[in-house]
């Protein structure tokens, strides 16, 4: 599975939706993922890719990780994986 597919499946599971219901332009809010769901999603992504995502729930906008929508999350993870290797 591609990075994108894996992220989509994590977010779909968190939102309790089918993967096909998750779109690149979907915001987490529009998928019904609240602030607790967000930190849980980030945890699940860190576990899946063995990464540390620079995200602070106190200041999500200042974090060096863009969570505006699913596409930006995928892009952020691809960048972190590239940095790691």
């Amino acid at each position: 599975m591609s990075i994108r597919d894996r992220v989509f499946s994590i977010i779909a599971e968190q939102a309790m939706l089918e993967v096909s219901d998750v779109k690149g332009e979907s915001t987490l809010e529009s998928l019904g993922i609240d602030s607790l769901g967000l930190v849980e999603s980030i945890f699940a992504i860190e576990e899946e890719f063995d990464l540390t995502i620079p995200f602070n729930a106190n200041a999500p906008d200042d974090s060096d990780f863009d969570i505006s929508n699913v596409d930006t999350i995928v892009a952020g993870i691809e960048r972190l994986i590239a940095l790691k290797s």
Partner: protein
């Protein structure tokens, strides 16, 4: 001052997964204590307990709830659901604001601590699930009950070791009696039956390897249990006005501190709590027909408790019945007083006295009627529930038959 009654009861423990099933098992003198089943149990020297078996939380709670609910919270929510359903109450509008939750637990989310310590120490992981804190905190169960049933009044968790539930129910009682609330959901829960939870208790060398035999001369220690007991306490006039079924009255309570020793019980401290509960409730000692003992099955507790009862009741001590249901469900630590309150309700409501099972040899230091091995049928007007915690903190509740 207002009078307080109980209009709902719920429970889960090694004897059964409802209040009715628990009382039925108590009547039958069943033993819920058996071999413990969990990871690394073979590394324990104590391998028995009153474990809740066949409880499928996954079928009751959804995935999101499962990530947030420690086992002690799962037990609490199931018992609370049962109690609230029995009461017939629905918490909306002004009743919601006038109703709260006070629960007891000694350890809170012990298995959540255990699992995550194992993960970071033993497995060397550097990341834990984000909900570890909201899952393990001692007030998690209380908060989830308040959310699930829309209870917006005074709510908190009490932690006084083995007296947690009795202290919690005392506070709930007080709030209704003094007019701070109309309905309180109260009781307690515990779930320490995991490797770390039992290992910690092992260290004290007070645990039995084979059985809990309170008051028996050959008793050799306590046996841990787990579960929850939850009740609906309600202003008597409120309950009457809506035609609720009333299980019994909560007549009074008292609390005391030994101010003496962190683990050894004190006859004086226990006696002050027992006599205090009688005077608070305006009950003459001759009216007491049954005492649900703290009765842990340790050498120290049982003889001290019997001496305290003899001191408070004088000659009447020989006429009343005193039993320890821990012989059947084990010691639920912070949840124990709540499950044991069921034995008191059964005594005053149904006239059935739960036995002390596993009783084998008379002990001259426990020379009271401990209702050995077989339940008894007789009418009881007043029952007391004793809880004497490590740290010397005592709480005794008095229940009265409701006519």
């Amino acid at each position: 001052m207002r009078r307080v009654v109980i209009t709902g009861a719920g429970a889960i423990n090694a004897l059964g997964q409802s209040a009715a099933a628990t009382m039925e098992a108590m009547r039958e003198g069943q033993c819920g204590i058996g071999p413990l089943e969990f990871r690394d149990v073979e590394r324990l020297s104590i391998q028995i307990g009153g474990q809740v078996k066949g409880f499928e939380a996954e079928g009751i709670f959804n995935r999101q709830q499962m990530t947030l609910y420690d086992r002690f919270t799962q037990f609490t929510l199931c018992a609370a659901q049962e109690a609230v359903a029995q009461s017939g109450l629905e918490f909306t509008g002004s009743l919601s604001v006038r109703s709260g939750v006070v629960l007891g637990t000694a350890g809170g989310g012990v298995s959540t601590w255990d699992d995550n310590y194992r993960s970071v120490y033993e497995d060397g992981k550097n990341r834990v699930h984000p909900f570890v804190v909201p899952k393990l905190m001692n007030n998690a169960a209380c908060s989830h009950v308040s959310m699930q049933h829309n209870l917006k009044g005074p709510s908190f968790t009490v932690s006084t070791a083995c007296a947690s539930s009795n202290h919690a129910m005392s506070q709930a009682f007080l709030m209704i009696r003094t007019g701070m609330a109309d309905v309180m959901i109260t009781g307690g829960s515990e779930s320490m039956l995991c490797f770390g939870g039992v290992k910690a208790w092992e260290g004290l060398r007070v645990m039995s390897k084979d059985a809990c035999r309170p008051f028996s001369a050959n008793r050799n220690g306590m046996v841990q249990g787990e579960g929850a007991g939850i009740f609906v306490f309600e202003d008597m006039e409120h309950a009457k006005a809506r035609g609720a079924e009333i299980l019994c009255e909560v007549a009074g309570f008292a609390m005391s501190s030994d101010a003496a020793d962190i683990v050894m019980p004190s006859k004086q401290g226990a006696a002050r709590a027992i006599s205090g509960a009688l005077s608070d409730a305006g009950i003459d000692r001759s009216e007491v027909g049954y005492i649900n003992a703290h009765g842990t099955g340790t050498a120290a507790n049982d003889k001290t408790e019997c001496a305290a009862v003899a001191d408070v009741f004088g000659p009447h001590a020989d006429d009343l019945m005193i039993s320890s249901t821990k012989s059947m469900h084990g010691h639920l630590i912070g949840g124990t007083g709540a499950v044991e309150l069921l034995a008191c309700i059964m005594a005053v409501r149904d006239g059935i006295i739960a036995p002390t099972i596993g009783y084998e040899e008379a002990d001259p230091e426990c020379a009271l009627d401990v209702v050995p091995n077989v339940a008894r049928e007789t009418s009881v007007d007043v029952a007391l529930s004793n809880a004497f915690a490590f740290g010397g903190l005592n709480a005794v509740l008095a229940l009265r038959r409701f006519n």
